[in-house]
């Protein structure tokens, strides 16, 4: 095998047989996705004939929706589960980080858990000892290092766990969605640390829903759709392809399953297609179907930008808006003058019972629409990512002219 190659994957497939026992072992998202499509067969191909090569020192992002096969790929690369067909060659020591704090035990102290977690992640005890001070320093929990971690706040727990992981020094690092935890400041610190790792010439494979983080960290990415590798290219290309792939769902969403939940979502833009002209009336129509009877059903709408960030407060229906009991109910949300800036947006919709806090259904990343600003005049033109929203404003001037004294 070529010395330049870190990982070579050829014709890799993974099949899950969905029996009663194995349903537990699949991630919930995967199982749910499967059931809605063809609930009669008991086989599910999480990966279909995937081949690619990763060069040493590359930092690769993996993009795809839930159930696209990202996590399965990482599990196979980390040897947690074996492939059904295909072959993988790996050149270099692999450390995988599919979770922060694997093996942490609540009864043990921070110090003990550093050793425990470090060896679980593949460090030797000697290695952990030599990095111990750095780890504690990075975590910022020095004061509590000899306290059992069950007394830690969740923030402290995550900090300590990530600090251990951040000090791994493998040649190939595989990371799954672990940055979703922790506060913003600490996330920033972790991203910085990862950037540093990648600059040291290590190979990094990185899965995240945070497209922004992928754009910042990786130079190339792989797009997965339903277990198939769709494209392996520059990250910027992949991200725009990923956005476009949402368009195939179009600006409406339809779920014909007879179950409690969101059955139909339509976005009514100013042009009637997925293009919406800035500032014009925008409507979101949502239909929900209920077999059972719920009281005080509430609905929340989030508008998500290209980086996966929610850009307005969740719009939650009021309690007195009595729109459904059982049967089909429709609710329409109208924006008279939306100020969304140039860009592509998607919707996340959540449904729940307000009185009991029961979560009924959530749909994410649907109804992409694009806001254009050709109808708004600007002296300098509009640039993507230069703003997130446009505010109406007016100018006032107050003049005081100095009298000429000479």
């Amino acid at each position: 095998m070529n010395k330049e190659i870190a990982i070579r994957v050829t014709h890799l497939s993974k099949k899950y047989s969905i029996g009663k026992k194995k349903v537990n072992s699949l991630r919930g998202a995967l199982a749910a996705n499967f059931q809605s499509k063809d609930s009669k067969t008991d086989e599910f191909w999480a990966l279909k004939d995937v081949s690619f090569e990763i060069k040493k020192g590359d930092v690769i992002g993996i993009i795809g929706k839930n159930g696209a096969g990202k996590s399965t790929l990482l599990k196979i690369l980390s040897q947690i589960t074996k492939p059904t067909t295909g072959r993988i060659e790996i050149n270099g020591r692999v450390a995988s980080l599919l979770e922060v704090g694997t093996g942490f035990h609540p009864e043990l102290t921070g110090r003990e858990n550093i050793y425990l977690n470090g060896t679980i992640l593949g460090m030797s005890r000697k290695e952990v000892s030599s990095k111990f001070d750095d780890i504690v320093d990075f975590s910022g929990v020095e004061k509590f290092i000899d306290t059992p971690v069950k007394h830690y706040s969740s923030g402290m727990y995550v900090r300590l766990a990530f600090a251990v992981a951040a000090h791994l020094e493998p040649e190939i690092l595989i990371i799954d969605e672990v940055l979703a935890v922790g506060d913003a400041e600490f996330q920033e610190k972790c991203l910085g640390k990862m950037k540093q790792v990648s600059e040291e010439g290590r190979t990094v494979i990185f899965v995240s829903h945070d497209i922004g983080a992928i754009q910042r960290l990786t130079n190339k990415s792989i797009l997965f759709v339903n277990g198939e590798l769709i494209s392996f290219d520059e990250t910027s290309e992949i991200v725009s392809l990923y956005r476009k792939s949402n368009f195939s769902h179009s600006y409406s969403y339809l779920n014909e399953n007879m179950k409690n939940g969101i059955s139909k979502v339509n976005i009514i833009t100013s042009t009637g297609s997925y293009i919406h002209e800035f500032g014009k009336e925008l409507k979101i129509e949502i239909e929900a179907n209920f077999i059972e009877k719920y009281k005080n059903v509430a609905l929340a709408i989030q508008i998500i930008n290209e980086e996966g960030k929610s850009i307005i407060n969740p719009l939650i229906t009021e309690e007195k808006l009595d729109w459904i009991e059982n049967g089909v109910g429709k609710v329409i949300c109208q924006f008279n003058y939306p100020r969304l800036f140039l860009g592509i947006y998607t919707l996340n919709i959540h449904l729940g019972e307000k009185s009991s806090n029961v979560h009924i259904d959530s749909i994410e990343n649907i109804c992409s629409f694009k806001v254009t600003m050709d109808n708004v005049y600007s002296d300098y033109g509009w640039f993507k990512n230069s703003a997130t929203y446009l505010e109406t404003h007016s100018w006032q001037t107050i003049k005081e002219i100095y009298e000429s004294t000479y």
């Binding site: 899950y16 980390s78 947690i80 993988i88 030797s124 005890r125």
Partner: protein
């Protein structure tokens, strides 16, 4: 430090091939993960008596109470006659049995109990039942101490065969490990074994010559049933261990049935474990 480790790492080359999966247990790899084995053993030991008021005393209390009950029921009520004081006689059996049942109980559920780790990280899964067997050595040590204390108390001098005692102990550990490996692998596929194990522990106490001499059973059983009796791997070990300490008549050749059983169970266990190891993350 990092430079040295990096040098070692760069020689690492791994091939995962769906069509050529190895059926032979990889001991070299197991050795590479020795630090994880040490850490997990130490964790289980640390956690075992955490938050209990009397802590380590439990490890002493459990065998002592069982011993007292056995000597009350079998020594006093039933009146089992033994060549050495009954308390000491039962204790030699208990020493092996306590360890065996500890490993059997804890290994059986060990893989499922560690599913959080198994789904998120790779390591040779065999480390989990191995670490349970290592934690049990504490109990074995404590039992041996009680036994030695009783021997001094009764003024019993060990027989000239005592040099064989460590060999029988070793076979006892091997038997425990063999059954532990089998049960841990089986429990992943068939959860039913979770219910079978406590049952086995309960029955095992009676079908093993712990509270009574093996001769008792031999006198009552026909020849074929006697062979069956020794298919219990721990039966021969208990009898041999007792003989190595107290001397007397050497155990019959049926003892070797137990030993052969241990070897068969251990080797087949390693292979069966290897076979299901790759899929464990999908099953737990």
């Amino acid at each position: 430090m990092p430079n040295k480790t990096e040098l070692l790492m760069s020689e690492h080359h791994k091939i995962i091939d769906a069509s050529h999966s190895s059926i032979i247990p990889d001991f070299k790899e197991l050795y590479r993960y020795k630090d994880l084995f040490i850490t997990l053993t130490w964790r289980d030991f640390r956690v075992r008596y955490a938050q209990t008021t009397i802590g380590m005393l439990w490890a002493l209390l459990q065998p002592v109470v069982t011993l007292l009950i056995l000597s009350l029921v079998f020594g006093k009520f039933v009146g089992v006659k033994t060549e050495v004081p009954y308390l000491l006689f039962a204790m030699t059996g208990m020493t092996i049995w306590t360890y065996f049942s500890y490993v059997m109980t804890n290994s059986g559920a060990s893989i499922i109990a560690s599913q959080g780790m198994i789904k998120k990280i790779y390591f040779p899964r065999l480390i989990i039942p191995l670490s349970k067997a290592a934690v049990g050595l504490i109990d074995l040590g404590i039992s041996l101490l009680i036994m030695i204390f009783l021997m001094i108390f009764y003024g019993i001098v060990p027989s000239s065969n005592v040099w064989l005692a460590p060999v029988f102990l070793l076979f006892g550990m091997l038997a425990a490990l063999a059954v532990g490996i089998w049960l841990s692998a089986l429990t992943v596929r068939y959860r039913d074994f979770q219910h079978v194990v406590p049952f086995m522990v309960q029955i095992g106490l009676y079908i093993t010559p712990i509270a009574y001499p093996a001769d008792f059973a031999m006198q009552q059983l026909p020849k074929w049933a006697a062979t069956l009796y020794y298919l219990n791997p721990i039966a021969g070990v208990v009898q041999g261990f007792r003989w190595s300490i107290f001397g007397g008549e050497a155990p019959g050749s049926l003892m070797y049935v137990s030993f052969a059983m241990i070897i068969v169970l251990f080797v087949s266990g390693l292979f069966y474990f290897r076979k299901v190891e790759d899929d464990m993350a999908d099953y737990v």
